[in-house]
Amino acid sequence: MADFQTSTHRAKWIFTPQQLVEKHKVTNQRAKQMLEKCGTTRIEVDVDGSLSYPETQANAADNADKHSRPKPLSVDEEQFMRVYYEYKLREVCSAFYFPHKIQATALIYFKRFYLQWSVMEHDPKHVMLTCIYAACKIEENHVSAEELGKGISQDHQMILNYEMIVLQSLEFDLIVYAPYRSVEGFINDMEEFCHATDDQIQMLKDMQATAITEVDKILFTDAPLLFPPGQLALAALRIANEMHQVLDFERYLRNILSRQNSVHTISNLTESLDAIDSWVKKYKFPTEKDMKHINRKLKSCWGHSSHDDKKREKKSKHKSHKSSNEMQNGPTLA
């Protein structure tokens, strides 16, 4: 839909940085409490898409000595986990040669999902694949779950199991505005703005290509949850213009503001673009060592109730027990 102004994206899914911090804190806190009370954080998703919560263990806090008790992930560690899987998400999309739009939609779904949940509650690997699956359905590039699972040697049933909880967590707000289209629109507009000659048109084309890779970077940050897609596109274009030196960018910004009768001032807008830049600069990808450590912690958080663990029915929950199945659940994707 062309109208971002009246979209659910604008109305419900653009936050302030404080709100974002708060949301991640809340889900982290909730998972921590669950770990204390139940000895596990994992919420199981059944074949019918319904959720099973871990049971409270009356003496969970007492019956284990401090050292073997699983430790929850910190907010920062959760962030690393999401960053890691967002990267994996793009790898999977590239492997399938999905268009940018699908990849962007899936990424935004993934980010939105983990505003509602902690990575300790739902395995990001499953959520990541389900987000791709859902994005394909929405963008009319239907790929069967089986095909998707096969392509990356994952069980596709788990994608189907997660579909409902993902759709629901997205509150069925499924239309997402990616900045790629805005980039295209601004480039067309710039052609007119500069009365571009053939040479300039070629330069704008090169600039567009650079801007697209900049958008790719921006989408890995939290910026898509903080800024509208048009601003994300302009931030990417500004960086691209610094590289290609095609036009006076500030003059262009002033021009669009005046044409749109925007309530924004040029300083507002520049401030937003600077903020988006700084998100990209702040972006940190976890090291292998980080991931090893986080994964170990995550596995212990999930330790006592994997769905493969048939023994949970008998409620025989020994702290030291870890099934070998669970050990495979890590950020390892074929």
Partner: protein, 477 residues
């Protein structure tokens, strides 16, 4: 909250052994089935919450996608579009429920008692009186108004037909038109695949000539063609181009449908429609459609309008062959036809002039021998209750393709025991109703729906609506 019957069993998310009614279903009293189509079923229910007690809701159940590939894409597309739009002349999606037992989705809409299919049929079958001018004009104006909104939001409906155009029954919105059934609707920018790719059968009577001739790209003009056909049908009570559908191959050339159109409008010519030459079926001309069988246009005779009259002028602009010259919804709303007496009104069913006869359209027949799963109950049919009996075929409420043969139905039977379903609602990312037993309708957080917002607040328990899953520690039973 808002549901006095909510049980304490808030943990039951989905449990096939549980015979208790699921929480979301407890919000409703099921009245019966009102429609059936390829996508699934439509039920009529009434809300129980005190704030809205007795409000009628149409619940559309989508079957799981056939190929075992998760949630029905048709359902998802309909939801995703309806979540983004809000207009008086477009149906309002009030809630989405999930039934975990078969992974199906239930979409709850404000209920509309009538649709153009039933209204036209009522006039045709009974009395044989035409629909009065005021009603025709008001219905058409509101249809165009809703369509203009959709088109300006870059949405093409693609499946407009009388049964998809609903009209509200008695109440605040009496006589207000609601465009329904967005299962085939598309955003322009999205890749538009031919209808046949979706494996969905839609009636060809309202299909634009460019599509019949094999055009690959849909434009909003296809909806305007359908509106033209519907306009003519409102005037004459008969489908304008009633072609026999060819069903031999997955996407056959609909020769008879084109023939019916040519017969009334004359043959299209390259002069009037230059891009005609590029259309696959015209180009190949395997069935000699280029031959000039019909010369004179007889549209005015078919619709019994003077060629100089305003309604005829508007109709002929809607039935313009060249999609690029066809009148748009925005232009149509400005047409002279809507500026001359009788002026269109908000309540299309009740003429503003006193003395005009008000028609009491029959209420939608309801098949009460069903539960929310659509399975027929074992309870034997009960005798038709006096006064409430409605005779008629299964209606095609909300865009239903199949219309079963006429049979008597009754209203007011006790509700069937529905099967277990899980309660879920839009505002809550998580689980059962521990925090929100009433189920919050979707908050949009925009000023565009102040009405709904207020309504929300009332049902919204403190601290909810944030989308956070509540903390819940017990494994389900």
């Amino acid at each position: 909250m808002g549901d006095g019957n909510a049980t304490t069993n808030n943990r039951s998310v989905s449990n096939s052994n549980n015979n208790e009614k699921p929480e979301w279903l407890q919000q409703y009293n099921l009245i019966g089935k009102i429609g059936e189509g390829t996508y699934g079923l439509v039920f009529l229910a009434k809300t129980k919450s005190p704030a809205n007690r007795g409000k009628s809701i149409a619940i559309k159940k989508f079957k799981q996608s056939k190929d075992g590939d998760g949630v029905s894409p048709t359902a998802i597309r309909e939801i995703m579009l309806l979540r983004e739009i809000s207009h008086e002349n477009v149906v309002k999606l009030v809630n989405v429920h999930i039934n975990h037992a078969d992974m199906s989705l239930y979409l709850a809409f404000d209920y509309a008692e009538h649709d153009l299919y039933e209204i036209i049929r009522h006039h045709r079958d009974k009395g044989s009186h035409c629909i009065n001018q005021y009603t025709v004009k008001s219905l058409l104006w509101q249809l165009l108004n809703g369509l203009n909104y959709l088109h300006s939001n870059w949405i093409i409906h693609r499946d407009l037909k009388p049964s998809n155009i609903l009209v509200m029954g008695e109440g605040d919105e009496h006589g207000v038109v609601k465009i329904a059934d967005f299962g085939l609707a598309r955003i322009y920018q999205a890749p538009l695949k031919p209808l046949s790719d979706n494996g969905v059968v839609v009636t060809i009577w309202y299909r634009a000539p460019e599509l019949l001739l094999g055009a690959k790209h849909y434009t909003s003009a296809v909806d305007m063609w359908a509106v033209g056909c519907i306009f003519a049908e409102l005037l004459t009570l008969k489908p304008l181009f009633q072609g026999a559908e060819a069903k031999s191959t997955p996407n056959p050339f609909q020769l008879d449908q084109l023939d019916k159109i040519f017969k009334v409008l004359g043959h299209p010519t390259l002069e009037k429609w230059p891009t005609l030459a590029n259309l696959p079926h015209w180009q190949s001309d395997l069935q000699h459609i280029q031959g000039h069988k019909y010369e004179n246009t007889g549209l005015h005779n078919v619709v019994h309008l003077s060629p100089k009259s305003a309604p005829y002028d508007l109709l002929s602009k809607m039935l313009e062959y060249d999609p690029r010259k066809r009148i748009t919804a925005a232009q149509a709303l400005e047409h002279e036809y809507f500026r001359i007496e009788p002026l269109p009104g908000r309540n299309a069913l009740v003429p503003s002039q006193p003395g005009e006869k008000v028609i009491n359209y029959p209420t939608r027949p309801v098949d009460t021998n069903t539960d929310f799963e659509g399975t027929t109950s074992l309870q034997p049919p009960q005798p038709v209750s006096s006064g409430n009996a409605v005779s008629g075929g299964m209606p095609g409420g909300h865009g239903v393709a199949n219309r079963s043969a006429s049979r008597p139905m009754q209203i007011g039977m006790p509700r069937m025991q529905p099967q277990v379903m899980a309660t879920y609602n839009m505002a809550q990312a998580g689980m059962g109703g521990a925090m929100n037993p009433a189920g919050i309708p979707m908050p949009r957080g925009v000023a565009a729906q102040p009405h709904q917002q207020q309504h929300l607040r009332r049902k919204d328990p403190p601290g909810m609506g944030s989308g956070y899953p509540p903390q819940q520690k017990s494994r389900r039973q």
